[in-house]
Each structure stands twice: as structure tokens, then as C-alpha cells.
């Protein structure tokens, strides 16, 4: 089992044998109790993440408890089939007499597809911008120059600051008589206009999250040995060619993992639009993302909110699956390779 057994040549001096055997015995004895070392982790993950996932799925198939419209009696809900899902996906609501009708405008159900497109729009734009900027920052941080420590600190600090604080700060900057309008000499309604509010969220998110991207890309950059660049230089590659044909292929695995984490994170965006635009913007739903809709729905019915959160993580799973299958992002292997490569 242990590598030392395999490597040890058969001609090992006999006096070493007992020691080796002792270690092996110790190791085997240890293996038996050592399994308990991962029990706390499994328990914590099962209680706080596993159970809510399962219970959300179960709840999503339940009816809300309430008055039965036919009998007027209080009923405990019961099995609802795909009713809660239809509420979101097909905008089907129940009217007072228990019939299925299409949801009236203003109902949270009718905001579903809007929330989906807003969420995907934010994800696409922020991830592209943050990846490009993050790569540039990572290159800067990877170079040696005077004042590098200061630049690194300035780049990384926004990421370490609570999103709630960031959002309030940008809310102030984007207020009508605020800094943004003063600097640009405009009178844009940053937090209430439909598109301006979307861009306000994107700008704030870029400012906040680019450092994280830069950090992950930098981790990939630092694994590349200097000799590779020297070899490319000797071969006469221009810096442009070095970027496209040396750097990019070499950081591809790290980059894909960074982008994957970012995409998964962006699909769940909540704090920024919720605080910056009060979850609204525009006509009230220009910046309503799926997570905002979930949290809003909690107050109006658990089961329906559970269905929506199940839909949300199915969407996230599909996106993650596409990454892993089509782009070949291997989170497990990349992280292990990075850790080994840096040795």
C-alpha cells in the first residue's frame, strides 16, 4: 500500500526489517481508526449542505398549507407534483377556486424568465470583463518592479471587503447627485434606470471580483518556469506570440478553473443587485436575479421558493457540467497539479 514497500529493494539489510514492519503495522493499525478523521467534515457538510439540498427538493413537491378553496378547511398541503415547478417555468398560478390560470403580471412567478435572462446577462458580461482584466492584473502582479507590493495590496483589498459595504458604497457613488455623475458630468439615474442600473451592478461587481480572478490566474502564472519563456525568446518569439502560444496554453487549466468558479459564483449573485438597486432597478425587475427572486419568494411560501432554488441549482449544475465535459475543466486534477507543480 505505501510507496516505501514497493521502492524498498529485496536486498534490504535484515536489521532494518523490523523497523519497516513496525511502520507498516502502525500504518495498518492507524488506517482502521483514521477513517474517523473525516467523519466531522462529512457530518458538517451533511447537516448544513446535504440536508437542506434534500429537504429543498422534497419541499418543492409539496403544496403550501392553507385553506382548501373547495371545503374552506385548513389543510396540511400534501403532494403537489410539479405544480410548484409549473408556477415558475410556465407561469401557472392557482386562483381562489383552485383552478390553474396563468399568473397575473406582478406575481413573482411571472418574473422567472426575466430573472433567468438578467442572471445570465450579468454572468456573461462580468465573467468576460473580469477574466480579461484579471489576466492583465495577474501579469502586472507577476512582474517585478518598484512598488509592486503596494499595487498587489491595492488590487487585492476590494475583494477582502464585505460585498454589503461595497454595494452601499457604489450606491452612494451612483446616486443622482453622486460622484459618478459629478465626474462624468451627467445626470444618469444609475440605480433606477433599466440599463444604467444593470451597468452599475456590472461595474461594481467588476471592481469587487476582478482581484479574485487575478489571484487565481496569478496562481497559475507562478507555476510556469522562467526557462520556458527564455527558450521561447531564444527561438525569437515576440511577446505577442509568447502570450498566445506559451502563456495561454500553460495557464489554460488554471484559467478554466478560475472561470468555472467565477461563473458558478456569478450565477448566484445576490448582495450587489439587492443592495445597490434594492433588487429592482428600471420598472422594478431590471436587476432581479434568480437568487433575489428566491429570497423574495421565501416570505410568500417555502415550497414554491424551494422549487425555484432547485431550478437554480439545476441550472448551475448544467453549466458546471458543460464546463467539465466540453471544456475539460478538471478541478480536482488542476488543483493537485498546481500544488505539485509549485513544489
Amino acid at each position: 500500500m505505501s510507496a516505501s514497500n514497493v521502492v524498498a529493494p529485496p536486498t534490504t539489510p535484515t536489521r532494518k526489517r523490523p523497523v519497516r514492519a513496525g511502520i507498516r503495522k502502525a500504518r495498518r493499525g492507524q488506517a482502521r481508526w483514521a477513517i474517523y478523521l473525516i467523519v466531522p467534515s462529512i457530518v458538517l457538510l451533511a447537516v448544513v449542505i446535504g440536508y437542506p439540498v434534500v429537504s429543498a427538493i422534497i419541499m418543492s413537491f409539496q403544496k403550501d398549507a392553507g385553506l382548501d378553496p373547495a371545503t374552506g378547511l385548513f389543510v396540511q398541503g400534501g403532494f403537489a407534483g410539479f405544480e410548484n415547478y409549473a408556477h415558475w417555468l410556465l407561469q401557472q398560478c392557482m386562483n381562489a377556486s383552485g383552478q390553474t390560470i396563468s399568473c397575473p403580471p406582478g406575481n413573482l412567478g411571472s418574473q422567472f424568465w426575466n430573472a433567468v435572462s438578467v442572471t445570465f446577462f450579468f454572468t456573461a458580461v462580468t465573467v468576460v470583463v473580469e477574466t480579461a482584466l484579471g489576466m492583465w492584473f495577474a501579469f502586472i502582479m507577476n512582474r517585478t518592479f518598484r512598488g509592486r507590493a503596494l499595487v498587489r495590496a491595492a488590487i487585492l483589498v476590494p475583494w477582502a471587503i464585505p460585498t454589503a459595504v461595497t454595494a452601499k458604497l457604489w450606491f452612494f457613488i451612483f446616486s443622482v447627485a453622486g460622484v459618478a455623475n459629478a465626474v462624468l458630468n451627467t445626470h444618469i439615474l444609475w440605480v433606477s434606470d433599466e440599463w444604467a442600473s444593470r451597468f452599475a451592478v456590472i461595474i461594481a461587481d467588476t471592481w469587487k471580483t476582478t482581484p479574485f480572478m487575478a489571484l487565481l490566474i496569478l496562481a497559475g502564472l507562478q507555476v510556469i518556469p522562467e526557462e520556458v519563456y527564455e527558450a521561447a525568446k531564444v527561438d525569437g518569439a515576440t511577446s505577442w506570440q509568447r502570450f498566445w502560444q506559451v502563456t495561454l496554453p500553460l495557464i489554460r487549466p488554471a484559467l478554466l478553473v478560475a472561470v468555472l468558479f467565477r461563473v458558478l459564483d456569478a450565477l448566484r449573485i445576490y448582495d450587489l443587485p439587492a443592495i445597490l438597486t434594492h433588487g429592482g432597478g428600471g420598472t422594478g425587475n431590471a436587476t432581479t436575479t434568480l437568487s433575489i427572486l428566491v429570497v423574495d419568494q421565501i416570505r410568500q411560501g417555502f415550497n414554491s421558493a424551494s422549487a425555484l432554488s432547485t431550478i437554480t441549482f439545476i441550472i448551475i449544475f448544467i453549466v458546471a457540467f458543460i464546463f467539465v465535459r466540453i471544456l475539460g475543466t478538471n478541478v480536482v486534477r488542476t488543483q493537485e497539479a498546481q500544488q505539485k507543480g509549485a513544489k
Partner: protein
């Protein structure tokens, strides 16, 4: 570095190439710091806004036209915030929650990371894969289930619920980082300690943990920052004002009914102090910790 290039420039036919090189190398000394400075300015401006406005009296913050520097410098906002009992409660909550969940993460992650690094047990990849999967769920998409669970357990509106949630959602990252560090330590080091008669626990405490210290520092920082910054779970699980953490609490300085921006900014500045200090202390180890996992 540049001086050697300079001395090598000689009137031969390689001059154009040499001059081109010298040109870039010469410029590089200035271009990079200037680009860096531009980046700093863009990234720091929002903080300057926050800082300057925290020192304005409340009445001046929303004055039009806005001036760059405060007309009157005032510590009023800071003294009001420091004297505010709610602010004390929020600060205490944030500290309790962030410190406790960090401790839980470290205590739970170290044994698990050690085990997965040392033993090639059946289902090891499945376990690690599952840990990565838990990173896909954010509290935001699970907040319904979490709320319901803690409601059933009677833990709504308690620190315990918040601490457990923060710990669980940060466990994956810590486990991964530490796992890398443990597998980088050669088995022989450990075996030598056992042969010398050290106990398992003694080996762990005196040899393994000091060797993985950079990894532990990284894990502690990430967990502390994430827990300190957490918003959605606290917003849903905590209802009474005196249990709210800072991230949720400070929002009440600016509502539809009152707009104490200078207090809000003063409170925010105080809220970022622990994070920035922590961050400045470990910035060097942080990048190393993410890539390395090596015994150096």
C-alpha cells in the same frame, strides 16, 4: 540589469535589435509603475470617497455641488458610531461568528485533509469530488432549505446557526488547500518521528502542523474574510437587531427614512479594518499558499 545591456551596445550591425531591446527595457522601468499607479488610483478611488465622506459632517455629504475635500473636517460620525450601542452589538456578532466559524473549519478540516492526503482509501476521489460539489452550492441557492432546517431545530436567530453555515460553506476550500500541503510533506519525515518514539498526536502537533503553517494561514484568512463578509444567510437567519453582524447591521444607517451616510461610511471603515490588517499581514503567504503547498 540595464547597465549590462547598455555596455554591450556597440556600433555593429546588431544595433537595431539592441536598441529596440534597450528601448523596451528602458521604458519598462517607467511604464509598469505608471500602469500600476493607474490601476491603484482606479481601485482606490471608491475608498477615498468613503474616507473623505466619513470625515464630513452629515449635512455636507449630500450637499450640491459636491466638493472633493470636506469643507469642515469632522470626527462627529466616528464618535457617533463608536458611541452607538447597536454598532457594538454588530461588531461583537461579527467577531464571534467569524472567529468561531474559522476555528471550526480549521479543527474539522485539518484531520480530514491529513487523512485524504495520507491514505489512498476507497472513495477518496469521490470524497474530494463531493467536497468540490459543495462549493457549487452557495448559501444563496440553499437559503430556503437552511432556513427551514434551523427553524425546525429552533436555531433561528442564534449565532450557532450562522457559525455552522459559515463553517460548512468554507470547509471545502480549507480542506483542499490543506490537503495539498499535507501530501507535499514526505512520509519519511513522519516515520522518522514515530521511530524516535513520538506519538501520533505529538508528530502532528510538533512536526506536521508547523510544516503546513502557510496552508493553515491561507485557510484561516479565506474563512475569516468569507465569514466576516457573509450577508445573505445572516439576513435570513438573524432577526433581532442586537444579534445582526456588521454587514447586515450597518445598512440601517441609510434607509428610506434616514440617510446618515457619514455614519455609514465611518462604520464601514471600522468594519474593514480587521480584514485589511489580516490581509496586509498575510498577502505574501496568500499567493504562495494558493500555489505552493510545498515544504520550503
Amino acid at each position: 540589469m540595464t547597465s549590462s545591456t547598455l555596455t554591450r551596445v556597440s556600433p555593429t550591425r546588431t544595433v537595431p535589435l539592441q536598441r529596440k531591446l534597450r528601448g523596451w527595457k528602458g521604458a519598462r522601468r517607467w511604464v509598469l509603475p505608471i500602469a500600476g499607479l493607474a490601476v491603484i488610483i482606479i481601485f482606490v478611488i471608491p475608498y477615498i470617497v468613503m474616507l473623505l465622506d466619513a470625515f464630513r459632517p452629515s449635512s455636507e455629504v449630500l450637499a450640491t455641488p459636491p466638493t472633493f475635500l470636506p469643507k469642515t473636517w469632522s470626527l462627529q460620525a466616528f464618535s457617533q458610531v463608536i458611541a452607538d450601542p447597536s454598532f457594538h452589538n454588530w461588531l461583537t456578532s461579527s467577531l464571534i461568528v467569524a472567529v468561531s466559524s474559522t476555528i471550526i473549519v480549521i479543527v474539522v478540516a485539518i484531520p480530514a485533509a491529513y487523512f485524504t492526503a495520507r491514505f489512498k482509501f476507497k472513495g477518496r476521489m469521490a470524497f474530494l469530488g463531493l467536497v468540490v460539489v459543495t462549493q457549487m452550492f452557495a448559501p444563496t441557492s440553499l437559503v430556503v432549505g437552511i432556513y427551514r432546517e434551523f427553524y425546525d431545530l429552533g436555531l433561528i436567530n442564534t449565532y450557532t446557526s450562522l457559525i455552522l453555515t459559515d463553517a460548512a460553506f468554507n470547509l471545502a476550500f480549507a480542506l483542499w488547500i490543506l490537503q495539498g500541503f499535507f501530501s507535499a510533506i514526505p512520509k519519511e519525515i513522519e516515520e522518522a518521528a514515530w521511530i524516535d518514539g513520538a506519538s501520533h498526536l505529538g508528530t502532528m502537533m510538533r512536526i506536521m502542523l508547523p510544516l503546513t503553517l502557510p496552508g493553515i494561514v491561507t485557510a484561516v484568512t479565506f474563512t475569516f474574510i468569507a465569514a466576516w463578509n457573509e450577508y445573505v444567510v445572516a439576513l435570513t437567519l438573524i432577526q433581532s437587531d442586537n444579534l445582526k453582524p456588521l454587514t447586515v447591521g450597518i445598512n440601517s444607517y441609510v434607509t428610506q427614512y434616514q440617510q446618515n451616510w457619514s455614519q455609514m461610511f465611518a462604520a464601514s471603515l471600522i468594519a474593514i479594518v480587521p480584514v485589511v490588517i489580516l490581509f496586509a499581514l498575510i498577502e505574501k503567504h496568500l499567493i504562495g499558499g494558493m500555489t505552493a503547498g510545498a515544504v520550503k
